[in-house]
């Protein structure tokens, strides 16, 4: 894809013997929302951090706005970071409690030398209004705000440098449902207004279905299925995706739940990663890892039985 904002290929990360992420690839177009779904240990959060080079990949290529991030000098990477920002799950831990809201929101602009102090202050007011916080909030501290409001502050901070990509790692998981809806709506509004692309990481299948255009399903560090959201939700092709969707609340359960636990990433099964829990596993799955194959345009599945 030539108009891809982010193009990731063969991305891998090992921490000693633990293969947290293996051979992950996907592309995100401008203004698109791409979701990564998975359970604990699937590598979804590590993938998010790798994309921003907050964690150095062991292998793989990350092309952002046409440039290979790995080849950029430290200074060039720092400059490029202006165009990609991150929102974390925990709005309590991710904001420095000793800084006022104004300082917090202005900080990324200072780092990237955007405007002078007067302009930055004006811009903070604009950003507060955009995320639905009162002007008076600027002189207060994070602890004076609720979880939902803090997540709004984190969003304002992420928007300060006018990024083209925001990586959101479980941005609403710590919030109560009534507040969760406020933050999701805000993200959608902002995305529409600014043409932002979102890399949206979540374990909540309902939220992912609501937010995303395309999704990747991860299991034990690999992408087992990737494609248009509507297609995957309507007709999941990988046995793990199917089981995952059937386990989600509010969706009709057809088969029995998956047996067994998620294996440890330090002790991966041979062959297909899902083989030890797969209801359809056969001989071949125990010794040969299936390669991702296209089952429809831009819909890839890593399963020996993908075509059936």
């Amino acid at each position: 894809m030539t108009d891809a904002l982010l193009d990731v290929a063969g991305l891998s990360k090992s921490f000693h013997q633990v293969h947290a992420v293996r051979d992950v690839g996907f592309t995100i177009g401008r203004g698109e929302t791409f979701g990564i779904v998975g359970e604990s240990g699937s590598g979804k959060s590590t993938t998010a951090r790798l994309v921003l080079r907050l964690v150095e990949p062991t292998r793989g290529v990350i092309r952002f706005r046409g440039q290979d991030l790995a080849t950029l000098s430290k200074e060039a990477l720092r400059r490029e970071r202006r165009h990609m920002q991150m929102i974390f799950q925990d709005p309590f831990g991710s904001l420095n409690g000793r800084m006022t809201i104004e300082q917090l929101i202005a900080e990324p602009m200072e780092v990237h030398h955007i405007g002078d102090s007067v302009e930055r202050r004006r811009r903070v007011g604009q950003l507060l209004a955009e995320v639905g916080l009162p002007e008076a909030a600027r002189h207060r501290f994070p602890h004076e705000f609720s979880g939902g409001q803090r997540q709004r502050i984190a969003i304002a901070r992420a928007l300060a440098t006018e990024p083209q990509l925001i990586v959101a790692d479980e941005p609403v998981s710590a919030l109560d449902v009534s507040v969760q809806a406020q933050v999701l709506n805000l993200l959608l509004d902002l995305q529409q207004r600014h043409g932002l692309a979102l890399l949206f990481i979540s374990h909540d299948l309902r939220v992912v279905e609501f937010m995303c255009d395309r999704i990747a399903v991860m299991y034990l560090g690999t992408v087992v299925e990737e494609g248009p959201k509507a297609e995957i939700y309507a007709e999941p092709r990988h046995p793990y995706t199917r089981a995952l969707l059937e386990s989600a609340p509010g969706r009709a359960r057809k088969g029995a739940p998956l047996k067994g636990d998620i294996p440890s990433a330090a002790n991966l099964p041979t062959g297909c990663v899902f083989q030890s829990r797969c209801p359809r596993a056969f001989d071949r799955c125990t010794h040969e890892a299936p390669q991702p194959r296209a089952v429809a345009p831009s819909h890839r599945v890593a399963c020996h039985l993908a075509e059936e």
Binding site: E39, V177, Q180, L184, R206, M211, P249, R253, K259, R277
Partner: protein, 325 residues
């Protein structure tokens, strides 16, 4: 509800906690009853008082809490018992499953030790018999027989296995009632499905009554007979979970239903509830949902009583009667 005498009957339960030097209400006048074999859900967001209700029922409220009202287990009033008698009655009659098995199971006692202690204390079983029974229970909750789990420690088990051990312990003394406080919230979805299926099977097998605490109306709709929705310490609506999802009457319940993205729904906007849950100690007078409610008017300054609306019990002056589209 069936005509059988209820297993659990709670009348006008109120709980207050000491917070910065004054007593702050956390649960107000809650009443409910659970019949044999029935599963009742307590649903609400954080701070609504659902866990505090459970802790009051099992007789383990936080230090300094003041609990009033009546709690009867199989007709026997629990609130007037001495702590010793209460442990005796509660230990045998009620099983609990907590959200985080890692913190509710003992880290340095083997699984076998913890299980046999409870069996010996509550049922006066000799050690050897208690051990056999513990082994049997672990097999019953679907833990692998090959592994000698009686000699294992909590940290050696996965989250799903820990929760199975918790369930085995909860049913070990043949309780009539099991109270489960968000038992699947800390688990991954595929493991969550396994644990839910186990709980449902246990219920059918031994006719357990269950009080199931959750923040998710859609989860409880899968297996609970009734749901009680709580907001700021108040019971605002009670009905079947399906009714609560399809035809919520209280504006708060409606707000909760509209705030969840539903299957097949995408990219339109959700309808969030404006504002936020009031913090403890600053609940509004009258109807507690009133400042966030689209149907609020002068009448809401007076606290509404629970009243029947269609097939549910609702605490609202202006209940909704339409179906969710």
């Amino acid at each position: 509800m069936t005509d059988q005498a209820p297993i659990l009957e709670v009348r006008d339960l109120s709980v207050s906690l000491p917070i910065s030097g004054r007593m702050v209400p956390v649960v107000t006048d809650l009443s409910m009853s659970i019949s044999p074999g029935e599963a009742v859900a307590l649903v609400g967001e954080s701070g609504c008082g659902k866990s505090m209700t459970a802790r009051a029922i099992i007789g383990l409220p936080p230090p300094g809490a003041v609990v009033s009202g009546s709690i009867r287990l199989e007709g026997r009033e629990l609130t007037t018992l001495s702590p010793r008698e209460r442990r005796r009655v509660g230990g045998r009659g009620i099983g609990f499953i907590f959200q985080e098995p890692m913190t509710s199971l003992h880290p340095t006692l083997s699984i076998g030790q913890q299980m046999t202690d409870a069996l010996r204390y509550n049922l006066n079983l000799p050690t050897r018999v208690a051990r056999d029974r513990a082994r049997e229970l672990l097999a019953r909750v679907g833990l692998p027989k090959e592994r000698d789990l009686l000699n294992a420690y909590v940290h050696e088990l996965s989250g799903g296995m820990r929760q199975r051990v918790m369930i085995a312990m909860a049913i070990s003394c043949n309780p009539k009632l099991v109270i489960a406080d968000e038992p699947t919230t800390a688990l991954d979805v595929t493991i969550q499905a396994q644990v839910l299926e186990l709980l449902i099977a246990m219920r059918a097998e031994i006719g357990l009554a269950m009080l199931y605490i959750s923040h998710d109306l859609e989860v409880v709709a899968e297996f609970c007979d009734r749901a009680i929705v709580m907001y700021a310490g108040d019971q605002v609506e009670a009905g079947t979970p399906v009714e609560c999802l399809k035809m919520p009457h209280h504006p708060y319940t409606r707000g909760l239903v509209d705030a969840i993205p539903h299957a097949g729904e995408a990219r339109a906007r959700l309808s969030p509830i404006p504002g936020q849950v009031p913090s403890l100690g600053s609940w509004p007078r009258g109807c507690r949902f009133q400042p966030r409610c689209p149907r609020q008017d002068d009448r809401c300054a007076t606290r509404p009583e629970l009243a029947t609306v269609v097939r549910s019990e609702v605490r609202c002056w202006h209940p909704l009667v339409g179906e969710v589209s």
